[in-house]
């Protein structure tokens, strides 16, 4: 396939995007877990694949990394079809998974050497590469310790290092920071940013909008196996209504009355005693004041009132009508 780009002189051929996903389908028994997902990741860019648990994120990643065979559609990594030549795809990708896939009974160094051997690096290159990565990921001091003794953050770093041993130009990160403390998360973000700065193409799945915000050039939101939104983080947030007022009442009854009364302020939704009002961009403080007046006029006595930026939960609430916590049926795998 030839990819064309329009410029001042007309159409010119350009390199195909590093990852091309074209109407990808995967079924597990009767359940269609991925229903015709399409997107592209240009070379050297980061795509954030967002979605609640069970949305199909991991299934998409597993198809792109040749762990699962697609039931329909096509996917190409660096122009190589994942169905036709999976072995060639494998030679060009790195995968770091949801749970750190390191051998707990091997040392950090041995884990990297193992991957180096299995990726068929030259014998004398393997030790050097392992050493280099241990240094880069601040694991040098623990290089010869059994990795079972590592902290969660160290294991994630080792897992990511293992994914990089054979210098893959395309990297898949499936929820790379889930379960990490803020420090560990920041460290890992720094590493990913550096890799991208040096030309690696990254596909990242995450449940944290913040993470996608920091790392991703583009975001694709999927739910129930379909793409439901696409754009930059800024574009997605704009969609949400830029600010959220969260009000907790003292009982459900009061909350129901408050939700009705707050309609002039913005789009209000109620969950038990909790009310969430999406208010138009830039008007947060004024809307807050208005909400206070309305509640006071209705003689309603809120327990808490918070004005905050939209979170991923708000994104999902807006896009899908449910929060990430609601759909917890697990990834179809």
């Amino acid at each position: 396939m030839i990819w064309l780009k329009e410029n001042a002189l007309g159409w010119e051929p350009v390199a195909e995007p590093a990852i091309v996903v074209d109407h990808l389908v995967k079924c597990f028994g009767d359940v269609e877990a991925v229903k015709g997902v399409s997107f592209e990741v240009p070379e050297g860019r980061v795509l954030g694949l967002l979605g609640p648990n069970g949305a199909g994120k991991t299934t998409v990643v597993r198809m792109l990394t040749t762990l699962l065979r697609p039931d329909g559609g096509n996917a190409r990594v660096l122009g190589i079809d994942v169905k036709e030549d999976p072995q060639a795809v494998r030679a060009n990708i790195g995968l770091a998974g949801q749970y750190a896939a390191v051998d707990e009974n091997l040392t950090g160094r041995e884990n990297l050497v193992l991957v180096g051997k299995l990726a068929h690096l030259d014998g004398d290159e393997i030790e050097a590469r392992a050493h280099e990565l241990l240094e880069q990921f601040a694991l040098e001091h623990a290089a010869d310790r059994i990795s079972r003794t590592y902290s969660g953050g160290m294991r994630r770093r080792l897992d990511l290092a293992a994914a990089l041993v054979h210098r893959p130009p395309v990297l898949f990160l499936d929820e790379p920071t889930t379960g990490l403390d803020p420090q560990g998360r920041n460290d890992l973000w720094g590493v990913i940013e550096e890799l991208v700065a040096r030309g690696t193409t990254v596909l990242l799945t995450t449940q944290y909008l913040e993470e996608a915000d920091v790392l991703a050039d583009n975001i694709v939101v999927i739910d129930h196996g379909s793409v439901i939104a696409e754009g930059t983080a800024a574009q997605l947030k704009e969609r949400m209504g830029s600010t959220v007022i969260e009000i907790t009442l003292r009982d459900d009854d009061g909350a129901a009355r408050a939700a009705d009364a707050l309609v002039p302020v913005g789009t209000a939704s109620r969950d038990g005693k909790l009310i969430r009002v999406n208010v138009p961009g830039g008007a947060g403080a004024r809307s807050m004041l208005e909400a206070v007046r309305i509640l006071d006029g209705e003689h309603l006595d809120p327990a808490t009132m918070v004005l905050r930026e939209p979170t991923l939960d708000d994104v999902f609430l807006d896009l899908t009508g449910h929060t990430t916590a609601d759909s917890d049926e697990g990834e179809g795998s």
Partner: protein, 271 residues
């Protein structure tokens, strides 16, 4: 954290002729695992040692009477203990594979440009090496409690060879179990009901002639008995040795021929 090296585009090469090298790499990794967990090896050998002592000194007197004249129970028992040990040892193949699957390691291996067969071949090879050491240790224990070889050193080596070949075949059976249940505890739980009738309704510990007639047909021809009989006749020197050995080889080859392709197919599909 210091600078991360630039990933050059498409530096890796795809070479498809790595089946042997990759299998050896995987065997190295699995042997390192065994070395790092010596307690597993110790527990795997303590149980058969207890069996040797218990059967030899507790049940030996009672069973002695059912043996053909001139045979001692310890000589009858040792080949049975060997086979029992490696049968239960084969379980670790399945448990280890299930463990790799549940921890996501198999995902890593499957996303690497390595030979598809290497995970299974490497695992069964490592278990073969492990079994080799267990069998050597068992020999030593046997000699301490009075085991004697009625034939010669070639008989003993032949018996050990058949027992190890059988252990390798069983590794493939339990590879299927491990790849099917996908978690270590379940693999262990599922395996015991398969193993118990094989090991105990066999000629491993008692002469088949002492069993009820409906059981004798099974007990005489099932693989554990056949392998035990072959090892026994090779070390005692009584019985139709070549017939037993041929039957044992047929079982071993048959099990590998059936189970290895099934295991490889399951590995390819395992998620």
């Amino acid at each position: 954290m210091t600078t991360v090296a630039a990933p050059a585009r498409a530096t890796t090469r795809v070479n498809r002729g790595h089946a042997v090298g990759d299998a050896i790499t995987m065997a190295w990794r699995n042997l390192l695992n065994i070395k790092r967990n010596p307690q597993l090896l110790v527990f795997a050998t303590i149980q058969p040692v207890i069996f040797v002592v218990m059967f030899r000194y507790v049940f030996g007197g009672a069973i002695q009477g059912s043996l053909p004249a001139g045979q001692t129970y310890v000589n009858f028992l040792m080949p049975g203990i060997f086979v029992q040990t490696i049968v239960f040892g084969a379980l670790t193949t399945g448990v280890g594979l299930a463990d790799d699957l549940s921890k996501g390691l198999v995902d890593r291996f499957r996303s690497l440009p390595m030979a598809r067969s290497a995970v299974l071949v490497g695992r069964t090879l490592a278990d073969f090496v492990r079994n080799f050491f267990v069998v050597i240790l068992m020999c030593v224990v046997g000699f301490i409690v009075g085991w004697t070889i009625g034939t010669d050193v070639f008989g003993l080596l032949g018996a050990i060879g058949i027992i190890l070949a059988f252990s390798y075949a069983l590794s493939w059976v339990f590879a299927i179990v491990g790849l099917t249940v996908k978690d270590a505890e379940t693999a262990q739980a599922v395996s015991f009901p398969i193993l118990a009738p094989l090991v105990f309704a066999s000629s491993a510990f008692v002469p088949v002639a002492t069993m009820p007639s409906w059981l004798q047909g099974w007990a005489r021809n099932q693989p554990v008995s056949v392998v035990v009989n072959a090892a026994r006749s090779l070390t005692i020197g009584v019985g139709p040795t070549s017939e037993y050995v041929i039957k044992a080889i047929i079982w071993i080859v048959g099990i590998i021929a059936v189970c290895a392709p099934i295991a490889v197919a399951r590995y390819r599909r395992a998620v």
